[in-house]
């Protein structure tokens, strides 16, 4: 049995292990998810709606997860499944080789995209473009 989450490059494994909510595979959730706490959600099923973490937050779209008509906003966004909508990652955005993103994505600090990822949309860096590299 796997005791570790999927191997990530940007999103810390502790963040993925601290997921507090789960939409299981085969489940269909229609509505918005909103919280002010620094929590996490993993979507393995189907979601039609928005997910918003006002502060912090980790969003993990599993390989079987499908999110449609959505606006996702969190500090860490890790996409392995399919997302149709807008994604806002305030810290790190990671798109794996099994992911499909149809829509625009923006990030403030870090991005990692697998060469086999399927992205149709605009990727935008929201940070200071002229800032000195750290």
């Amino acid at each position: 049995m796997s005791h570790n989450p999927a191997s990530t490059r940007l999103v810390p494994a502790e963040r993925l292990s601290a997921i507090t909510s789960l939409i299981a595979e085969g489940a269909v959730f229609d509505g918005n998810f909103h919280t002010t706490r620094d929590q996490g959600i993993k979507v393995d099923g189907q979601l039609k709606g928005n997910i918003t973490f006002e502060t912090g937050g980790t969003l993990h779209v599993g390989a079987t997860g499908v999110i449609e008509n959505t606006r996702l906003e969190a500090d860490y966004v890790f996409i392995e499944g399919k997302v149709i909508g807008t994604v806002i990652a305030r810290k790190a955005l990671e798109i794996t080789g099994s992911a499909t993103l149809i829509g625009d994505a923006s990030y403030d600090e870090l991005i990692d995209m697998h060469p086999r990822a399927r992205v149709r949309g605009k990727i935008e860096y929201r940070g200071d473009i002229d800032a000195a590299p750290n």
Binding site: E25, S98, H114
Partner: protein
């Protein structure tokens, strides 16, 4: 009778996450492998298959437009009238259009050889022309 221990929330959460990660790993690996295979098929295998298939078609002569045009069979030059070009032959550049001079039978310069054995008429028989002629 001892009661089964009821798992607490944290245990359930950890178990659900572990099961989810395990499924994720297999699905992601399978999907990624499929994407790489599809890319390899389109990038390398498909052109090779197309080239080999086209080569086989040409080799077998099955490509209809690349067949050799049918050469018209010209009979031995016995008639002096030039033959019209065959209509069913394919378009081709023919620099030697047959003319009447070239298609004619060669002129015989030597006198024809005498007939080998012409029976001589007997002297008591008159030719047929003389029977109806009024000349002496």
């Amino acid at each position: 009778m001892a009661k089964a221990p009821v798992p607490d929330t944290e245990t359930v959460r950890q178990a659900a996450l572990r099961a989810s990660w395990r499924r994720d790993r297999w699905v992601a690996r399978r999907r990624l492998l499929g994407r790489w295979l599809l890319w390899c098929l389109r990038r390398y295998v498909l052109p090779i298959v197309l080239i080999v298939g086209l080569g086989l078609l040409l080799w077998l002569g099955a490509w209809p437009s690349l067949r050799k045009p049918i050469e018209p069979t010209r009979p031995a030059a016995v008639s002096s009238v030039p033959l019209p070009p065959p209509r069913d032959a394919g378009l081709r550049l023919d620099t030697h259009w047959p003319t009447t001079t070239t298609a004619q039978a060669p002129v015989q310069t030597t006198p024809p050889a005498p007939l080998p054995s012409q029976p001589t008429s007997p002297s008591h028989l008159k030719p047929e022309n003389r029977l109806h002629s009024k000349e002496p």
